[in-house]
């Protein structure tokens, strides 16, 4: 059954991975050409115009985008976190619900498999693909950085792991929400909305001390790229919270899924 799940989710995995890898490939290919000494200077000058709070929100106060690695640490990782967040959310929202949406669940439930096993198989496959996406992207960017110039390898290694800390809870939260739904149509809006809301809360929390509290309501706080850049370390509390949220929502999903009724 896992083999079948891997097969049916492979196509979307390839599409998502290709989009990300393709985008970074383009950036790494063109960055050395567009970034002459002069443009690098003018970029730095231009960024000085922006309010420091805004630069802080995108970690641009910590790294300059006048190198490929600098860009990756700031805008690049912002993009990675968003795309990995979307992918994980969609996986969570659809991997179990798709059977109900396509009405194949009636057949699946007639087979000698427990509901828990159906759920477990689907979670395993989703996690394999989410981790693979982060790994492939990490390896691709590592190779590209090796070719394109100097970078802090330890810092990069830690940065490339951070998407996992937002991907897992987003997957689990969406999985849990999907156990209340019967059609995948509704999940697109919910998944997109959740990622945007969490992301915005995180960005806003960096803009002022007055709204710093917002970071406690955002999954994106768990990526904490700022801390990785500043201290070249991952805060273990973030790992624990990320795993805690993931486990909690997965347990709730199992409970809910076992009681779920099929609607005609």
């Amino acid at each position: 059954m896992i083999k079948r799940e891997l097969k049916i989710n492979l196509k979307s995995f390839i599409i998502w991975t290709s989009i990300l890898v393709g985008m970074f490939l383009v950036v790494f290919l063109i960055y050395p050409y567009i970034l002459t000494d002069e443009t690098a200077k003018s970029l730095d000058e231009m960024l000085k115009v922006f309010p420091p709070e805004l630069l802080k929100s995108f970690n641009m106060d910590l790294a300059s985008i006048n190198s490929a690695y600098g860009w990756l640490k700031t805008e690049g990782f912002m993009f990675i976190l968003l795309i990995v967040g979307f992918y994980s959310s969609f996986m969570g929202a659809n991997i179990v619900l798709k059977e109900e949406n396509d009405k194949t669940i009636e057949y699946l439930y007639s087979l000698p498999i427990k509901r828990n096993k159906i759920m477990t198989n689907k979670i395993i496959v989703a996690l394999i693909y989410i981790v693979s996406l982060v790994l492939i992207l990490g390896i691709f960017n590592y190779i590209a950085l090796l070719i394109s110039g100097d970078f802090n390898q330890k810092e990069y290694l830690l940065l490339s792991i951070t998407p996992i800390f937002i991907a897992l809870p987003l997957f689990a939260i969406n999985l849990f929400i999907s156990t209340f739904l019967h059609k995948t149509k509704k999940t697109v809006g919910i998944s997109l909305g959740l990622v945007f809301i969490f992301y915005l809360l995180n960005v806003l929390s960096e803009t002022s001390k007055n709204v710093e509290i917002l970071k406690y309501f955002s999954i994106y706080t768990l990526a904490d790229i700022r801390n990785v850049i500043l201290k070249t370390a991952i805060n273990p509390i973030n790992i624990l919270i990320s795993l805690g949220i993931t486990i909690l929502f997965i347990i709730c999903s199992y409970i809910r899924y076992n009681k779920k009724e099929l609607v005609n």
């Binding site: 059954m1 439930y109 000698p112 427990k114 099929l262």
Partner: protein, 290 residues
């Protein structure tokens, strides 16, 4: 005979809407149990409750005298289910879905699979998405039967099948019954129910209104009694039976009186003609669901 499936006072409500009100039935090993009722009577809700696709509001479902846990793989191995609407994985070929199905059972199912594919003339190379309604149904039949279940639950199994395939399918069911398989057969097609089933349950508005052996139902307590007489009004009052048709001097009544009491009651009237006919399953169905 052992009871393989027993339902006790099954009740299912979807919010405020009634699914089934009170369904109790008993199916013995080797029975082909016809489950009859009009649309919305609660047939599919009952079958879906047995399969654990919906949570029942109250009541009990027993399988081999033990409370049925439809999520238990060991129980599921003993049950074959054919829903009224078949939805399978479109991206697979027929061969792939059969292989997938086989892979989930510990036993070797290949022999029975081959037999069924041959009997139902199925092309295993076709893609599921390219199958007609009838061919999808045939694939569904193989999936429900290939693991040789002890209990077979069929919801409108012949819809979409051509008459030749319906016959083939009925012969397969008769063979299954000879092997000891118990069949719960839900259908609107009364002729096939009366030909196939040895026991019938009528469901109306979520309640089993009659359950009996087919021989008793065919013998049944009811007859159509046609009387032609000038005394129709008095006869009607005196017999106090359900009127099926009525014209000036003619009346057709649904009669459950025994011959002696009927003769006694009618002897005082001047009757021109009297006709007693058996009530068929179709007629009974009409009567119950009026």
């Amino acid at each position: 005979m052992n009871t393989i499936l027993e339902i006790k006072h099954l009740k299912k409500y979807y919010g405020n809407n009634r699914g089934v009100e009170d369904v109790s039935l008993k199916i013995n090993e080797g029975d082909i149990y016809g489950f009859i009722g009009p649309n919305g009577a609660g047939k599919s809700t009952t079958l879906r409750s047995i399969m654990g696709l919906i949570n029942i509001s109250s009541g009990k479902i027993l399988f081999n005298d033990e409370e049925l846990n439809p999520d238990d793989p060991k129980i599921k191995e003993k049950i074959g289910y054919l829903p009224s609407e078949i939805n399978l994985y479109d991206d697979m070929t027929v061969k792939e879905i059969f292989d997938f199905h086989e892979s989930l059972f510990e036993r070797d199912l290949s022999k029975r699979r081959k037999e069924l594919v041959h009997l139902l003339k199925i092309d295993e190379n076709k893609k599921i998405e390219d199958l007609s309604l009838g061919n999808s149904k045939k694939v569904g039949i193989v999936l429900a039967l290939m693991h040789e279940p002890k209990l077979l639950i069929l919801d409108e199994p012949t819809s979409g099948l051509d008459p030749i395939m319906q016959n083939v399918f009925h012969n397969i069911l008769i063979e299954e019954q000879k092997k000891g398989t118990t069949i719960l057969y839900s259908s609107h097609v009364l002729s096939e129910v009366s030909n196939l089933c040895n026991k019938i349950g009528f469901i109306k508005d979520g309640i089993i209104i009659k359950e009996d052996l087919i021989e008793n139902i065919n013998k049944n307590d009811f007859n159509y009694l046609t009387i032609i007489s000038k005394d129709i009004e008095n006869i009607k009052k005196d017999l106090n039976l359900k009127v099926k048709e009525e014209s000036e001097n003619r009346i057709v009544l649904l009669c459950d009186l025994d011959a002696n009491s009927l003769i006694k009651k009618l002897s005082k009237y001047d009757i021109e003609k009297i006709l007693i006919e058996n009530v068929s399953l179709e007629d009974l169905f009409e009567e119950y669901y009026k």
